[in-house]
């Protein structure tokens, strides 16, 4: 597998909603290359006929009754919000 470039690192940072400093971008390019080189070891294994495992237990589609139950009071929920107004979370403009 080809090495990850500085440009790709910046693309991934954008996907992850991280703003990397110059130094961090350098550092993570180096680190991700080292980690991915290490991860390439998995290619030694032929897994073409192996089913993937997402969970170690075989619990599937757990359903519950669709009934009303009390929710947390609004003021409690907003207690930890950095900013709120009229009972709602407040954020900067989404559109320019």
């Amino acid at each position: 597998m080809s090495a990850i470039t500085r440009k790709e690192v910046e693309h991934v940072a954008n996907l992850a909603r991280l703003q990397l400093t110059e130094e961090e971008a350098e550092r993570y390019t180096k680190d991700l290359n080292a980690i991915l080189e290490f991860a390439a070891k998995l290619n030694e294994l032929d897994t073409s006929s192996v089913a993937p495992t997402s969970h170690a237990t075989d619990v599937k589609n757990v359903m519950r009754e669709d009934v009303n139950r009390p929710s947390l009071p609004r003021e409690e929920v907003l207690k930890n919000a950095p900013d709120h107004e009229e009972g709602q979370f407040k954020v900067p403009a989404v559109f320019e």
């Binding site: 790709e8 992850a16 991700l32 969970h55």
Partner: protein, 490 residues
């Protein structure tokens, strides 16, 4: 002997006889933290007022002679700071959550309270449970009570160091790739990771949801059985918690291992394992043999693939789980953002530490378009192979036994510049999480420089009883659990 070295039954007798009060216990815990935690830094915040109020309430209840005592009645506890506690700051040792005040309890926090334990403090950890040394705490690193130049392990390093220092009667940690067992081994205490699904994860701040599991850190196996008894069980709030019966774990502690069949994987006892650690584990096997167990060498052929598979899977899950920290509903918010995307980016970049960002980057990459099959799906397929390896051993054996860690605790700063080297330290613990199995670490000796060595015992899914039985029988026959760092009083 310190108050917290007493057996639970002795504590309860003393409480009933009014020779001791729950307030005394809580005060002893608070005093121990105040007096000794400056050196160790295992604690992030103490809820002195809340703990003493709860203690008084429990004392009054006993004085009135009303209800029966809860299983963990009166015992001072410390909880890893990724377990949410109503009204008590919960930070995951991240600057992002420096002032987060949970509005409800997690299921386990509630169960601990329902069992009448007193939550005294929240404990230090690697930020968001990512790390194996507590050097990734966003606030300050924890130190190993046996030698403060060494790491306590992680990510539940605070939970293990606090137990070695006897600040509490028990602590709780969480284990995604060894985060309970490895620090327990490094600090010379007992750490139990239950079967995936045995304990509810509701209210555990998620790192890697298919791997995370809460468990006790204690001074001995009996205490681990008590705490597991109190926190285990199905929870409608966690759809991955298993709807299976919870056995009586205390009754499993018979001291009898006659006829027990132990498998020892050759991949985890030979090359790459420090000779001192290997010798201690071989001595433990000899000890169990003398008590009527038998052991044979077995193989976990995919061991060398477990660490890369684990880091791909856990980082992928983490990148998804940590997307919720966006500076909108809780946590820090950057104050210089001019639009929403910038707010996300700036808040996350200011709030997260280096290792958390590294894992989010790795996980985002592994899940991104064009790379999903090569990394994420490939790792999931390797996970299947690792599970099959365990299944074939457990067809013929009752438990698997090997070291908890390849070597004893490393020095602070020794591995910080090389993430791959740091990740490889997890070789003895991550395969167990990938398979979802229960496992315990118990002290089995000391290195030449006086650091503890951990023995790991792994059982079949939902067979914590056998794991506890073997660990308890071994522990009682050798007594390493009674050793404490010299400076720890009593």
């Amino acid at each position: 002997m310190s108050l917290f070295d007493k057996r639970l039954s002795e504590i309860h007798s003393a409480l009933r006889a009014k020779e001791l009060s729950v307030t005394d216990l809580a005060q002893a815990s608070i005093a121990s933290i105040k007096e000794h935690d400056n050196e160790i830094k295992s604690v992030l915040h103490v809820d002195e007022e809340g703990a003493l109020a709860h203690a008084r309430q429990l004392d009054e209840r006993l004085a009135k002679g009303g209800e029966e005592l809860g299983l963990l009645y009166g015992l001072p506890a410390g909880l890893k700071d990724n377990l949410i506690t109503k009204g008590v700051r919960t930070t995951c040792a991240s600057k992002f959550l420096a002032n987060f005040d949970p509005v409800h309890d997690g299921t386990v926090s509630q169960k601990v309270k329902d069992a009448d334990a007193v939550i005294v403090a929240k404990l230090n950890m690697d930020e968001f449970a990512m790390g194996g040394s507590n050097e990734n705490s966003g606030f300050y690193p924890t130190k190993n009570p046996w030698n403060t130049e060494y790491v306590p392990g992680g990510s539940s390093g605070g939970s293990a160091a606090a137990m070695a220092a006897r600040h509490f009667y028990f602590t709780l940690g969480s284990d995604t790739g060894g985060s309970i067992r490895q620090p327990a081994a490094f600090c010379g205490v007992v750490g139990l990771k239950p079967t995936y699904g045995r304990v509810s994860r509701f209210g555990l701040v998620a790192f890697a949801s298919s791997l995370d599991q809460i468990g006790p850190v204690t001074k001995n196996v009996e205490d681990a059985a008590y705490v597991l008894q109190a926190i285990a069980g199905h929870d409608p709030y966690d759809s991955t918690s298993a709807d299976v019966d919870v056995p009586d774990f205390l009754s499993a502690l018979t001291g009898d291992v006659k006829g027990l069949r132990i498998g020892v994987p050759k991949e985890l006892i030979g090359e790459g394992i420090d000779p001192e650690v290997r010798d201690a584990v071989l001595a433990a096997l000899k000890q169990l043999e003398s008590m009527g167990a038998s052991w044979s060498e077995v193989s976990l052929p995919h061991t060398e693939y477990a660490v890369p598979a684990y880091y791909l899977l856990s980082s992928s899950e983490a990148s998804s789980n940590l997307a919720r920290f966006d500076g909108v509903r809780y946590g820090v918010r950057a104050d210089n953002a001019s639009n929403l995307i910038e707010l996300y980016k700036e808040s996350r970049s200011q709030g997260f530490g280096a290792e958390v960002k590294r894992r989010i980057m790795l996980g985002t990459y592994a899940l991104s378009s064009g790379y999903y099959d090569a990394y994420y799906k490939k790792a999931q397929q390797v996970r299947t192979l690792i599970i099959q390896d365990y299944n074939s051993i457990f067809a013929d054996f009752d438990v698997i036994l090997h070291p908890t860690t390849p070597s004893t605790a490393f020095k602070i700063g020794e591995n910080v510049d090389d993430p791959v080297k740091m990740y490889l330290e997890d070789i003895c613990t991550v395969p167990v999480n990938l398979a979802g199995l229960p496992a315990i670490s118990v002290p089995c000796g000391f290195s030449g420089n006086g650091l503890p060595i951990g023995l790991q015992i792994i059982g079949k899914a939902f067979d914590e009883s056998t794991v506890l039985r073997v660990a308890h029988a071994y522990e009682q026959s050798v007594g390493y659990h009674q050793r404490k760092p010299e400076w720890v009083r009593g």
